[in-house]
């Protein structure tokens, strides 16, 4: 077990992409302390910013007000990172395996272009959750992101595979230019959900304001709902029982692409025969 505590709150962002089990686990205490971090434009040693306790380990706990600490868990393939408190941008970007838990809020670009592993945010997340970076063709291509609070704009932008589930409300452009994968919205979204989607599934348990380029299809209970609910429950993210067996209105689009994406909106009052 390795515990890092941020010494003081930051005025400029600290870029600490070395805070992953892949880098930390093989190192003895002294080498962990000497790892480089970037405070603004200045390169510093890790122990100048953090109090380091313990040897390098696959279990890493990071404490303090990390709102301005960026790139935690970048490119990680194994191990567990637990962030006690809020975390800065790009947490779990390009992640391939392992798990990250954030007890507070996260900001933008959680799990950008990740391809495996799991990120669980107990508070709110920001914009571009599981999205593609600028100029990149695909966002998250595997793995799971769970958010207990709300999320910002453009979640799952250009996502290709994987699962994003958000318990709170999300803002505009959820699943923008989505190419595959699944987004579960438990408290709905603001507007332009699924804009320009090519493929993939957005499941909403609240009514949505849809784009005019979506066509309405049938009402049915998708057989994969039970499997997804079971999978999410095993990760500590339960869906309400009625929603698992309930009827869903299927919308297909976006005709502008033209795409074959689907938006499934739960119809709580509807009884399926």
């Amino acid at each position: 077990m390795l515990t890092l505590t941020l010494k003081e709150s930051l005025t400029v962002p600290l870029e600490a992409e070395i805070l992953t089990p892949d880098v930390l686990a093989p190192l003895p205490h002294a080498d962990v302390r000497a790892l480089p971090v970037m405070l603004g434009k200045r390169q510093l040693r890790l122990d100048e910013m953090f109090t380091v306790e313990g040897e390098g380990s696959d279990d890493v706990e990071i404490r303090g007000d990390l709102t301005k600490v960026k790139w935690i868990g970048r490119n990680m393939t194994r191990g567990r990172v637990r962030v006690v408190g809020n975390v800065g941008m790009h947490v779990g970007a390009y992640m391939k395996g392992g798990s990250i838990e954030v007890t507070g809020n996260a900001t933008d670009w959680v799990g950008g272009e990740m391809s495996g592993g799991i990120i669980h945010v107990r508070g709110n997340a920001g914009a571009q959750l599981g999205s593609a970076y600028r100029g990149s063709m695909s966002g998250i291509s595997g793995g799971t992101i769970l958010v207990e609070g709300s999320a910002g704009i453009e979640i799952g932008m250009r996502m290709k595979r994987g699962l994003i589930a958000v318990r709170g409300p999300v803002r505009d452009f959820a699943g923008l230019q989505m190419k595959g994968g699944t987004i579960v919205l438990m408290s709905g979204a603001e507007q332009r959900t699924g804009a320009w989607m090519q493929r993939g599934t957005i499941i909403s348990l609240k009514p949505l304001k849809l784009m005019p380029t979506f066509a309405t299809a049938c009402v049915y209970n998708p057989s994969f709902m039970g499997l997804y609910a079971k999978h999410l429950a095993s990760l500590g993210f339960a869906l309400p029982h009625e929603a698992i067996a309930g009827g869903y209105q299927r919308h297909i689009g976006d005709a502008a692409v033209p795409g074959k994406g689907e938006i499934l909106v739960w119809q709580p009052k509807l009884q399926l025969p």
Partner: protein, 314 residues
């Protein structure tokens, strides 16, 4: 996909202005480049051209337009997305299309005209790029123009204003390969609007000093951004006292580019224009001040004395 205004003047037979009011904001645009000029391939000038105005209200520019389409506020993205679908021959329901404030027939007519044009131009203004959806509204306009090239020649161009803003983009692009929203903190350029763009940096309070060159963020930016400018050292280079210089620690008066300082300004179509000043100014130009600052900064010791131990991750 874009072009110069010279090409517009000589070739464009179909012109759309979207979310802008050129009659009042770019008063010479119609007469010099887009509408009334006779072009090489448009010998009858205005009679050879069709102009469409898309806006949320009937502005002065509507008088100059052949077709005025009044879109419901905040529905530009929806309208552009429907147009993209119609361009590809997809069906869109009339009820869904009605939420844009226009009928499906009007939109289909616009698509038919766009496809039938020999050379179409879509000029988009701040009514599109600064309303809800922001960069995605601009992206929708750009992608629509790009997709129309499957049928005809079609280009899109933003209606830039406020002096030499295009020049800033062009110079950043050929220097760092990105036009804006660039971070150089790691010694190489990184691009991420939303993370490194000015307003987002200031609102989050991620920077600890600001140098303002040829801009007045104190007059235009949101309150938290202005508060951060007040809190941290701000340096302004400007010929006159602006809102920003009132809240700045340092204001350096410079000469006015084009009037008392030479230089190059970029037109909205990214054509560089030399500036020949008619007057002399007692103040230094922005360039001279910046060169002095750079020379002084270079005399300071480098900030990389830390020995690199441990693993390096890129």
């Amino acid at each position: 996909m874009t072009c110069t205004l010279g090409e517009v003047k000589n070739r464009a037979d179909f012109i759309i202005y979207w979310g802008g009011n050129p009659a009042e904001c770019h008063p010479r645009h119609f007469t010099r480049y887009t509408l009334t000029q006779k072009g090489k391939f448009l010998p009858r000038g205005r009679k050879d051209r069709t102009m469409v105005l898309v806006d949320i209200r009937e502005t002065m520019s509507a008088k100059a337009a052949d077709i005025f389409l009044q879109v419901r506020p905040g529905k530009d993205f929806e309208m552009l997305t429907i147009l993209r679908a119609l361009v590809k021959g997809q069906t869109v329901s009339a009820e869904a299309a009605a939420e844009t404030g226009l009928t499906l027939e009007q939109l289909q007519d616009l698509v038919n005209r766009m496809k039938a044009a020999k050379f179409g131009v879509l000029f988009f203004g701040m009514g599109l790029s600064m309303t809800r959806g922001k960069h995605m509204n601009s992206a929708a306009a750009l992608i629509l123009a790009a997709e129309l090239n499957a049928y005809t020649k079609f280009v899109a161009m933003p209606m830039r204003g406020h002096g030499n803003v295009t020049g800033a983009d062009v110079v950043m692009r050929y220097t760092f390969s990105y036009p804006f929203g660039i971070s150089l903190t790691r010694g190489y350029p990184r691009f991420n609007p939303g993370e490194y763009s000015t307003i987002d940096l200031l609102v989050r309070g991620d920077n600890d000093a600001t140098l303002v060159l040829g801009a007045d963020p104190g007059a235009t930016m949101p309150k938290p951004a202005i508060e951060h400018l007040t809190r941290t050292p701000t340096i302004v280079l400007d010929p006159k006292v602006t809102h920003t210089s009132r809240l700045a620690r340092v204001h350096i008066t410079t000469s006015v580019a084009g009037i008392s300082a030479p230089g190059t300004a970029y037109r909205m179509d990214e054509v560089p224009m030399p500036l020949r000043p008619p007057l002399k100014s007692p103040y230094p130009s922005d360039e001279e001040v910046m060169k002095k600052i750079v020379a002084a900064v270079q005399k300071k010791p480098a900030w990389y004395p830390v020995t690199r131990t441990g693993a390096q991750v890129t």
